[in-house]
């Protein structure tokens, strides 16, 4: 069982915790491949998916994971904008908990919200993304995907490409990847990096890393989320940071392309690459990440509630 009951960030996960989660994911991946994709492990447990920010993939992934374990799952969605000052998120949660819930999965647009909640309530919480802070289950499923592909972590070269400053995925993954002994390079333009990145391993062009990387991890470029740190244009992005077919062909044998989804076709990855077939097409493992995501989340739910 896990030492910690709540999953708030990747930093607080020990190597033993991580190993436990990944090895359990293996057995739950097997459940998902059965004809009858259900085990009675969490029968009688109630899980709430509390999403204050829109999400399809993560919310569905948790829902499928919970249902395959026979837990009862309730979706509660509320758009971020309706939770205003005065409407206390703590009160919302306490209302939920009065109905005797065993675990809460939360996504919210404000960084640090999980720590706030963890202070006020005493049931386990899983962070499904808090603002620009952390998205630990994404990082864990990415880690699991990498292990399935390479069978190891030590020494793998990972390039994380795109909007670093606004990305909770980047924050969680850098931490976890480095913890597992991978060499992480961030590829990002100055306005999407912190002011001082002298202590980080940073490059500014995808061409600087494309040939040597084992893993090209591409972040979603959220033009709509950038308020003041404007990146000039999509054309500029394509020139310096996008993965196009020319760059795809430079990638070394055995290397892979990952993305947390959903992909902005034509921005961070071109249509040509997305639809590539053959050897190079096989590098894109975005759909496998999604499949493994269910297994990893099943493992987490089991380890917390089982």
């Amino acid at each position: 069982m896990l030492r910690r009951k709540s999953i708030t960030d990747t930093e607080s996960l020990s190597l033993e915790d991580i190993e436990l989660i990944l090895s359990n994911a293996d057995s739950f991946l097997e459940v998902s491949r059965r004809d009858v994709k259900k085990v009675p492990t969490l029968r009688g447990k109630t899980i709430v998916n509390l999403f204050f920010e829109p999400s399809t993939r993560t919310r569905t992934s948790f829902e499928i994971a919970a249902k395959r374990l026979s837990a009862d799952l309730i979706n509660f969605s509320s758009s971020g904008s309706s939770i205003k000052k005065g409407e206390s998120i703590i009160d919302t949660l306490k209302t939920m908990l009065s109905m005797k819930v065993d675990l809460v999965v939360i996504r919210h647009s404000d960084s640090g919200v999980i720590k706030l909640i963890d202070r006020f309530i005493n049931v386990p919480v899983i962070n499904a993304g808090d603002g620009k802070h952390q998205h630990p289950t994404q990082a864990l499923l990415d880690l699991y995907t990498i292990r399935k592909k390479f069978g190891k972590f030590e020494g793998l070269k990972v390039a994380i490409i795109g909007d670093f400053i606004n990305s909770r995925v980047a924050r969680s993954n850098v931490n976890l990847f480095e913890k597992m002994g991978m060499e992480v390079t961030i590829v990002s333009p100055t306005m999407l990096l912190p002011e001082d990145f002298s202590k980080m391993n940073v490059r500014h062009r995808i061409d600087d890393v494309i040939e040597e990387s084992d893993i090209i991890y591409i972040l979603r470029m959220q033009f709509e989320r950038q308020n003041r740190r404007f990146y000039p244009s999509i054309m500029e992005y394509n020139r310096f940071l996008s993965l196009d077919s020319r760059r795809l062909r430079k990638m070394k044998p055995g290397s892979i392309i990952m993305h947390p989804g959903p992909v902005n076709r034509g921005i961070e990855i071109t249509d040509e690459v997305m639809d590539a077939t053959g050897n190079f097409g096989g590098k894109i493992i975005i759909n496998e990440q999604v499949t493994y995501g269910v297994a990893v989340r099943m493992a987490l739910l089991y380890l917390i509630l089982g």
């Binding site: 206390s88 960084s111 640090g112 706030l116």
Partner: protein, 433 residues
Amino acid sequence: MKGNKKKNILIKSGRVIDPQHGKEFVSDIYIKDGIISKVGENISIKEDDDIVKINAENCIVSPGFVDMHVHLRDPGFEDEETIETGALAAVKGGITTVACMPNTRPVIDSQSLVKYVLEKSLESACTVLPVAAMTAGLEGKHITEMGLLAETGAIGFSDDGNSVNDSRLMYEIMRYSTQFDLLLILHEEDSLMSGEGLIHEGYFSTILGLEGISSLSDDLMIARDITLARRSGARIHITHLSTKGGVEMVRKAKEEGVRITCDITPHHLFFNDSSLTSFNTNFKVKPPIRSEEDRLALIEGIKEGVIDAIASDHAPHLDTEKNTTFKLASFGTISLETLFGASFSKLYIEEKISLPKLISLITISPARILGIDAGKIEVGKVANITVIDTEKEEEIKRENIVSKSKNSVFIGQKLKGKVICTISKGKLVYRSE
């Protein structure tokens, strides 16, 4: 408190700090009818019913503290604090004079509101001096009746919480202030640069995914205002200085003869931005708690004499404004009650700064900036005196907070140096159990 006769007070065997002359000596102090009547060794007074004896052995006896930057939220936000409750918190912290900022509702930008504060001050445990707005409604558009407001009793002028973004207007405010030799207290923030920022922009804002407030936001505005003050000859005071760049600019401006002074807060002295990893919203303050490099520059600034005062920037907020996400929480921490303990723990215990020097930063030095006769112990003057047990260490607990709001960044901290009694306006207004 009005009307009742003042009890005579004898403070025995305290280590008296004289920040004006940088001296300390063991002495008794006798206060008769609210006036300091004798300072000397072995004062013996015929026992009468009215006398209050304070044994100050192993304690320091300081002039009552002067805090030139507080928010008392009165009028308009009396659920957070009132002049009365704020004054009670002040005297618990050994503070006998406060200058309160004008961001109330309505804003202190008219003579009637200045009078309101002064009247409330008469009934309060400590002296409360109103700082009036520089621009009407703090909107940064129209200059206030600075001449009239000063005549009515405004001790200084500030748009605290904002900077006046219009440089021409700021220049005219400075020029006009010279006509009356007024003090301008400046909150330095380039609001386009700070934007939606929540904490200091640096390593911790990056890992926590919280919007950053670059130190450039302060530095750009400080540079502008020094430039304007140099040209206009205005007397400016940079409040809650937080950046290394700011300390350097103030040092240089002073060398050039610009009429500039500055203060820092105890929380900028005490913490660095690594404290934000807890996401504790009490640490959400403006200017933000900055990096260790900035903090060390502030301490260096004190040692070199670049920094003139420590001011609390006491900013009360309700639990509902703080028990929320970091983004939604209000900016500010209360800090009247911890002003001395925090400063003493950092500057005296850790940094070995002398007591008279430390005390001057919270007494005579801010008094001089404000142009008031306070911050010293003098025979013939109304007694404003604070007695502190410097050996006593105390953990700051929410339940012991006197202020109406409880949003203290120091909760859970152990601070050395406890105020054991405060005499304000000649009366014993606070005594710890």
